[in-house]
Every structure is written in structure tokens, then in C-alpha cells.
Amino acid sequence: MTLPSNSNLNPTLLKPFRPVGIVGYGAYVPRYRLPAREVARIWTEGQAALPIKEKAVPGLDEDVVTMSIEAARNALARARISPEEIRAVWVGSESHPYAVKPTSTIVAEAIGAVPNTQAADWEFACKAGTEAMVAAIGLVGSGMAHYALAIGMDTAQGRPGDALEYTTGAGGAAYLLGPAEESLAVINGTFSYVTDTPDFWRREYQRYPEHGQRFTGEPAYFKHITEAARALMAAANTTPADYRYAVFHQPNAKFPQRVAEMLGFSKKQTAPGLLVSQIGNTYAGSAIIGLSAILDIAETGDHILMVSFGSGAGSDAFDIRVTEAITERRERAPKTADYIARRTEIDYATYVRYRGKLAMK
């Protein structure tokens, strides 16, 4: 592992001149749940091992635009700032409703951030949301903007009968970034580790992605997360014991628990952020909705490590410290657990209808 030079000109840790933090945050998960045993019932007569308990499925009237709007409204309710002061609205997803016309423009309009704002969509598989967050840190940290809104949200699609169909879920979170002195959690620094690794992709006009089966493990997920986490901790001079919580990208229940073990984190540190068994893999929302669940319970001074992973591939690692503003602000909007508790179980037939897998014409 060759890290960037640790000189002042090119430090390893990406840190802005002006300290930046999370001024408000909000999550969203739709209410429908498809139990993994339903997928197993249809495709394997109930014989398959289940990678999670159930996944969240968006309703017929939901998509990344509508879900991002609600998460953004929750973040704004917590932040209590005027939306006109937001100078960037950036949504990261791999299921934007339009191929051309940014989700971000509609979200910006709906929350009242228009017209004096940046708005563009981001994509990098499951790390599209954290990609937007890193850019938002730069925009605020450089003094170009007082507030920037970064969202990671997905309504992931699974090929029928594929192993991923058990876990492709829907959900995500929004983070309003601003000056550290106004924040409920300060982002001390980030580190990104990116390579050209073809573990999972989708060609244009194809409906479902391809994935490299076992190749998505060691050279992709585990390699990028461990490299990013270790580089961040080395540059920040921390060890796993320094963190109260750690949250990783969660494509299934096993991977994040195994990577936590490899890095030296305990179950106690990772349990609150591990939501995949109840809502599935929310793709661009995955690591960051885990973070929102942690912020829902964190205490002043808590140190959090978050590392996302996006296929293609890359990881963004964040070193976060909670401030005393968390206690009052988190009560101003629904918690991640409120959305998880709101559940209506559906069967495979309803799921197929809701996900548009029926040939209507």
C-alpha cells in the first residue's frame, strides 16, 4: 500500500481548511418488506440459505426522487436552516428515475433550495452517496458554500432468480453539511481508495447488473474497505479501540461483520449500524443509513468510523466525532428505527408488481 505523501501539499487525509460537519441528517425507508424466505420459496422451494431476514421495497408511487425529498426534509428539520442557504443539492444513486435530468434538480425544487444552488447527480454504485458527501465537504470546507446537501438513496433492482434478489433493497439518507461549529457531528477527515476493479457493473440499456459472484469479495469489497480504513486510521493516528462505533457498506449480513473482525472492531461497535438484515442492501444508501441509525443513539464525544464501498470499485472512509448538539437535534425528525418499525409484509407476487417486473405491454 503506497499512501500519498504526507507533506502539507498532499496529505493522506482529505481535510478541508475550514472544519466541516453534519448540521442535519435524515433517513428514509419505504414501508413494504419482502422476506428472503419468499424469494427462496419461489426459486428454491424454500431450500436456500437466507442472507438476510427481509428487504425494504418501494411502493408504486416511490422512487429515488420521492425518497430523497423525504430524507432531505428530515435533515432540514434537524438542521433548522433556511433551504435558500443551501448551495448544492447532490444525490448519489444507481437508480435515478431519469437517465438524463438530475434527481437533484427535483429534490432542490421540492425543498426550496432553488434557484441559487448547484444540483447534479452522482453515481458510483453503492458509494454514490458518500462520493457526494466528500464533494460537499470540499464545497463547504473551501468556503464556497455555507451549506451543501449530500444524499445517497437507491431503489435497487435484482435480476429474478439471482442471488442478489434476496438483498436488493430500498432506502438511504441525507446529510446537510456545514461549518463544524454548527454541527451535531464533525467530520475530521476522509480518505478514498479507488481502483478499476470489475466486480459488478451494468451496461447501458441493460435492465439488471452483472456481478462477478465470488470475485466481489476479496479483491473488491474486502480489499477496498480495509485499505481505506487502515489508511485513514494511520493518517488520523487512531486504532479501532478509539472508536465507539464503526459502520461499513452492508450488502448482506456476513460481509460487514467479517470486515469488522478483519480490522479489529467488535460486535458492540458495529451492531447499531448494521441494518441490512431488516431492510436489505440499500446500495448508495447502505453505509450512510447505518450512520443515521448510529447518530440516532450516539452521545456527545462519540467517535465514529464509516467506510462505504462502491463496486467498480472504491471506498470512502470518514472519521466523525459527535458534538453536544446531537441530543436536541435528533429529536426533531423521525429516527431510522421509526422507518424500520413501519413495515407491511408483501409476497413475491406483490413484489414483482411493485418492482415493475411484469410485462404490462
Binding site: Y32, L60, D61, V65, T66, E70, A110, K335
Partner: protein
Amino acid sequence: MEISRHWRLNKQRYSLVGEICPHCDAKLFPPRDICPECGHEARHGYTFNGRGEVYSYTRIYDAPAGYEETTPYTVALIKLEEGPMLTAQLTDLGGQPVEIGMPVEMVTRRLRSDGDERGMIVYGYKFRPLLARQAT
């Protein structure tokens, strides 16, 4: 395709932006520039908080053009907290029965495509039962 009509309506549809009458303080939705209560000009913007209750409702099984793929769905008359009545779909019911007087909150949802699968996506308001918040 009605691009310009949808575009003109997006503030009221996405965020329940109506008007307030500077003369008699009535809140107007949808905005129509003349106060229906006192007849004076009313052009000041007013954003509703999104809370209201079900005044009446019906369940649609045979939908009008553009909505066929989302049946069955519930359409309700909603009395907003600030006074005006509007018509909107209810969503996220999760099998819960609808009751007259039920408190609801506005959410922005996908209404339909403008035309076929190539048309713009029309977003707008629907109302859902209040999201339960756990005790803190």
C-alpha cells in the same frame, strides 16, 4: 404532453405552496390570486405545513387514464389544518382502514408519467397516515 402546465404547478404540487390573503388572513389552496372568502387580491405565498385530516374518501378500482397501473387506490378529500380542502390520493396505508377524521400528513410522491414511458414523470402531493415515532 403538458410540460409547461406541469412546470407551472410544481411548487404547489411538490410543497403545498398556496397563498395567504393580506386582508382577511384566509389561507388559499390552490393559489388563485383572488381570495374566495373576501374577494380581495391575494398574491402572498404561503406554504402549508402538510398536516390535515380525512374529510371523506373513496376507493378507486377503475382508474382514469394514466392511473390504471396503480389501482386500487384511495382518493380522499383532505381538510388541511390551516383551513382549505383539497383532493389527493392516500398512500402508505399498508392495509390500514381509512377513517373520517384520521390525521394525515403530506408526502411528495410519483403521480404518473405524462403520456407513456418516454414522458416526464409527474410528482405531486399525496397524504399518508402519520408516521409513528417511538417514544424517546
